[in-house]
Homo-oligomer: 187 residues x 4
DNA sequence: GATGAATGAGAGTTCATTCAT
DNA sequence: AATGAATGAACTCTCATTCAT
């Protein structure tokens, strides 16, 4: 209970201010608990950050895996990948900003490693799906790992820009899917 | 002279550690000047950061504009855009990381605004090139501003991933250009 | 039962780390009870410390009084005094370190007073024995209270130094008795 | 200048409250400088403490060495040793309390080591003088190192007790010299 | 009688900033 | 123009203490 309050306050504060600029005082205040409770539940600010990001990535990963498991064709999987990642950008913008932004600055080594590992696991999952598509013949062959990371960055940036100007999700999803799958050039 | 030493030390330190984790002491030391000199040349840490980023973006902008001005067709411009942005990621990785990473955390409002504006100017320049391509009929119509930002993020992420695994630039440029222009799907 | 576990854990922790550096958490853990139990049995950390030290001094006092009561001559009493105090340094080194070290730093006023009083009572008991010796004509006349405190400090320091280099007790006792009774100068 | 203010404030505060209970805030206030200045001149609280104690011991050591160098006989050296150590207890009571009290509690390992080393050097110097006396035939043979530490503890305790009751120094010095050299037993 | 999650005042430490030189 | 000793507000983290169970 208290732990959950802390996590969700931390998502908000960390995503708005970044790791270094965020203050434990403010997180405690937003969570509605005493400062000491942060340290009763997490070893350090770095540890809290790592918990927030890795749990966020894991949730996202599980949710997308569950949804994509319903798809029967490779094409459906890839369309779903774009749509669900954009959806996550829309539904949990703060968490996704947090996951995508490089925060390595003040994190201690252990926490930075946990975060890197969690991110890598997710990117490798996406890369695996792209490799399925390549084997299937649907996708152009290439550096699947680089693509996976780059397309996530693409979707995140595209979503932020669209959101800033109030675009609705389904338009953006359609356009993003076209750009990613079909490319920038006119067919 | 001193100013240039400071700027180039600041690029290095800021890009490695982020705005908040970077220390004025370390910047002074790397620049080989006394800490007081930083404040003789720049009003504050935020001001130094804003100077570094805006000057970096402006240099990049000018350089790319100059190179692209030699292109005669829209197609050449767009290919050059991809190639030159990747080239910049390769040649000035620290500066580009600095430009792309969101550092809004600890910056004061004025500096954050200058940075945002400089970034926006560059993104709008790219968006203008994309609109040329759309008018020309070469490119799919769409949210040019969103695309410009998203493709920059794509290139940056793709470049980082490739660099981490030692890929050479021209391979990456060719692959990136194919992905961006032609899409992920097999032709 | 629980109280005894706490006391003996507290002796260990306090003597190793000093009052301030010792933690209630660690005492509870070593005692094998929950932290709340410390506060069920003692009003505060200061109170626990005062209990440990005063009870330790009282035990020591009683034990030495009992042993010395068997002596029939003043000379025997004084030899026994040296031997038994050294013995205590050997048998309960942690407790004796705790008693001898000035811990007034973080103690609250009430606890500091209890500790001071217990120490004083013991020193006055020793001073009384010295005065018996003076009246008896065996000992040089002088500041019995000052001597009592100073000889305890002497024995404690001598014992620590000897223990650190593995000297055995009876050698040390003989040497200490000679030094105290006969002085540093060769007879 | 500022460094000296800090050192002398630190002697006062540390000796009154002990290492752990002393606060950097209070030291800064007593020194009449800002808290940051403590950390500009010393790496940490432990470092400040180690500097205070080691410099204090070294000063004491040098001063006593200088004074004893005027003595021509072993007997004079030993009398001087007692008198000068008592004098130091009288002149710099806070510093001597600080040196004699075991503060190992919260000190970090490096600082604890520096302190231990400085203390040991001084005790070994005293032990060397005692060995001179033994070789000379004036002193009873025995554990010179243990004696050196024990007699310092004796003098310190004797001085504190005397001072608490307003005894004057020369009486105490004469009595202490008799006790140490001639022993407790009546000649 | 015993627990341990929760607390919050206060600790040591950092670091952007200033200013006399 | 350039310096660096000095600053103090703000930070992360600790830990004795409480209280509902």
């Amino acid at each position: 209970m208290v732990r959950d309050q802390i996590i969700s306050a931390a998502v908000r504060i960390f995503s708005r201010q970044g790791f270094d600029a965020a203050g434990m005082d403010e997180i405690a205040q937003v969570a509605g608990v005493a400062k000491g409770s942060l340290y009763y539940n997490f070893r350090s600010k770095s540890d809290l950050f790592a918990a927030v990001v890795t749990e966020g990535i894991d949730d996202l990963h599980r949710q997308i895996e569950r949804i994509l498991s319903r798809s029967s064709t490779v094409r459906q999987v890839l369309d779903g990948l774009v749509r669900e990642n954009l959806q996550a950008c829309q539904d949990y913008p703060e968490l996704v900003d947090l996951i995508m932004r490089d925060q390595s600055g003040g994190l201690d080594a252990a926490a930075a490693d946990r975060v890197r590992q969690a991110r890598e696991t997710y990117v490798q999952y996406i890369a695996g799906l792209l490799e399925d598509g390549m084997r299937d013949g649907l996708l152009r062959r290439g550096d699947s790992l680089g693509m996976a990371g780059a397309y996530l960055a693409f979707l995140h940036a595209f979503s932020r820009a669209g959101r800033a100007r109030g675009r609705n999700l389904s338009d953006m999803a359609a356009e993003a899917a076209d750009l990613i799958m079909g490319g920038l050039c006119r067919p």
